[in-house]
């Protein structure tokens, strides 16, 4: 059941699609769980980590064969492999760059992944494309039930599921939707949206989760409050707020198309030009221009690309994936050259 790299990035969510896929790139629901009678992974004494790891591994091995989970011990992977998993949104930066015994389990579609010994013993997440929080919850909920029948979770009737940080206590549920909001950025409405998001008790996180940077007008919106309400109430609230943001972005897109079409076309075609002709490009710049191409695809200004192909380019031009394609380690400036070459090649194929 151990992972064998080279890592294949094919994940179900990459195909795109689902409700509101033009704006909602992915929906993710994560449940934080801890085993009863063990120190949290954040305890200074790390001696419980190995026994937690083997208990969880046994639980996964006893799941029906058809579930087909791959088990991957993160502390045995190379730096490159860990970052491939991070860029594929299967693990967090904290797990990738952490220390000590820690692992990842994921299903064949890579739609469900479980981090072991991150901040909590288990962080189970389901990821799918489009705005589909309920679907994501349903699949992670099912796995949670299967694991709960094999391992005793730390739980109290008063606090709910007990977590290493009290900001996750209760349901342990964190729902996030990755939104692509270029029109709100272009029309300078994004700040208003951010303020509304904070008022609605949600947080804006970066591209790779908490504490990471937002890139290319992609913003991850997630709930702040995890207790006092049921999972379904939290998700229904989130979905309503996200839908409001989506309609706001849609209106901004329509406005741009109606009143400022030349400006919009210029932004999109310039980005195409840069990506097709640049000889050196940083990951940040590439994401910014790919973000504009994505807007071009959904507004039908560009017809030679699909959402899926953009999503694939966004993933493959990240540092670790790029090095995986090239087959060897690259320094930062070498990566910028390789990235430009890769993007040039990919775009010229579509013409």
């Amino acid at each position: 059941m151990d992972i064998s790299l080279p890592f294949d990035p094919a994940a179900a969510w990459l195909a795109g699609g689902g409700p509101d896929a033009a704006i909602a790139v992915t929906s993710r629901v994560r449940l934080a769980r801890n085993l009863a009678n063990h120190n949290f992974p954040t305890h200074p004494d790390q001696s419980d980590r190995s026994s937690v790891l083997s208990d969880v591994r046994n639980a996964f091995q006893s799941l029906p064969d058809g579930d087909g989970y791959t088990w991957c011990e993160i502390d045995r992977q190379s730096n490159l492999e860990r970052h491939l998993l991070l860029e594929s949104h299967l693990i967090s930066r904290e797990l990738a760059d952490g220390t000590g015994p820690r692992a990842l389990a994921f299903n064949p579609a890579k739609s469900i992944s479980v981090m072991v010994n991150e901040e909590d013993h288990l962080r189970m997440q389901a990821l799918c494309s489009g705005l589909r929080l309920k679907d994501a919850f349903a699949s992670v909920d099912q796995l949670d039930n299967a694991i709960a029948s094999r391992l005793a979770f730390a739980y109290s009737p008063l606090f709910g599921y007990l977590t290493s940080c009290p900001t996750n206590v209760g349901t342990g549920l964190r729902a996030s939707v990755m939104l692509h909001l270029p029109a709100l950025v272009m029309t300078s409405h994004i700040e208003k949206v951010f303020r509304a998001i904070y008022e609605m008790h949600m947080a804006v996180r970066g591209f790779y989760g908490e504490g990471t940077e937002a890139m290319g007008d992609f913003y991850q919106i997630s709930n702040q409050i995890t207790c006092g309400r049921s999972e379904n109430d939290i998700l229904a609230d989130m979905e309503a707020s996200i839908k409001a943001i989506i309609s706001y972005e849609n209106r901004a897109r329509e406005e741009l198309l109606e009143r400022e079409r030349p400006r919009l076309e210029d932004v999109i075609w310039r980005s195409w030009g840069i990506l097709e002709y640049a000889r050196q490009i940083t990951s940040e710049e590439a994401m910014r221009h790919l973000s504009n191409l994505r807007l071009g695809v959904v507004t039908k200004i560009l017809d030679s690309l699909t959402l899926e192909s953009i999503q694939r380019l966004l993933l493959l031009c990240q540092p670790a994936h790029l090095q995986q394609i090239e087959g060897h380690n690259l320094e930062s400036d070498e990566r910028d050259i390789a990235r430009a070459t890769f993007l040039r090649g990919s775009l010229s194929l579509t013409r």
């Binding site: 801890n34 009863a36 009678n37 063990h38 120190n39 949290f40 954040t42 305890h43 200074p44 004494d45 930066r93 904290e94 760059d97 952490g98 901040e119 909920d141 949670d144 039930n145 709960a148 029948s149 005793a152 979770f153 730390a154 739980y155 109290s156 009737p157 008063l158 606090f159 709910g160 599921y161 007990l162 290493s164 940080c165 009290p166 900001t167 206590v169 209760g170 349901t171 549920l173 994004i190 700040e191 951010f194 008790h201 947080a203 804006v204 996180r205 970066g206 908490e210 504490g211 990471t212 940077e213 937002a214 702040q224 409050i225 207790c227 006092g228 309400r229 049921s230 999972e231 939290i234």
Partner: protein
Amino acid sequence: MLICQICKKKQATIHLTDIHNNVKKEVHMCEGCASEKGFSLQSAADIPQLLGLASKKKVASPQAVEEDIVCPVCGQRWSDFNSRGRLGCPNDYQAFEPRLRKLVESQLSSWHPGEVSLHSGKVPPGAPPDLSRQLTRIHNLERELRQAVEMEHFEEAARLKSEISRLKVV
């Protein structure tokens, strides 16, 4: 766009939430300032330091004289939690119950302190049956009922009333 709280110039792209001295704080920084402050994502322990930078004065607060408590199971102290922002083991929730309860309640904007249970979500199999959840539900509905009556939403009030009496029978 949120502006970096440290340089007050660039766009804040790093957003941190942490709990320190019973208070939940948020810090928004640009990447440059974050790395200048030596912030690494690996150690949550850096966050209180950063928060300390945001508000330098450390006046004696009521919390400063708060008696320290130790979790008998894992040895974690309440003061450790205050500085690291992370608990040591599940038993900490029992060892520090009143303080954690206050803290968690303060995160809930629409919460009425002292309600029977903070949790109204899923329950793992084999967990002891919990009457307090039922009580909490009734509690919440009664509050909604009072609000509905105040707002003169009588249809809603009637619906809530019948649900409350149904729950009370159970």
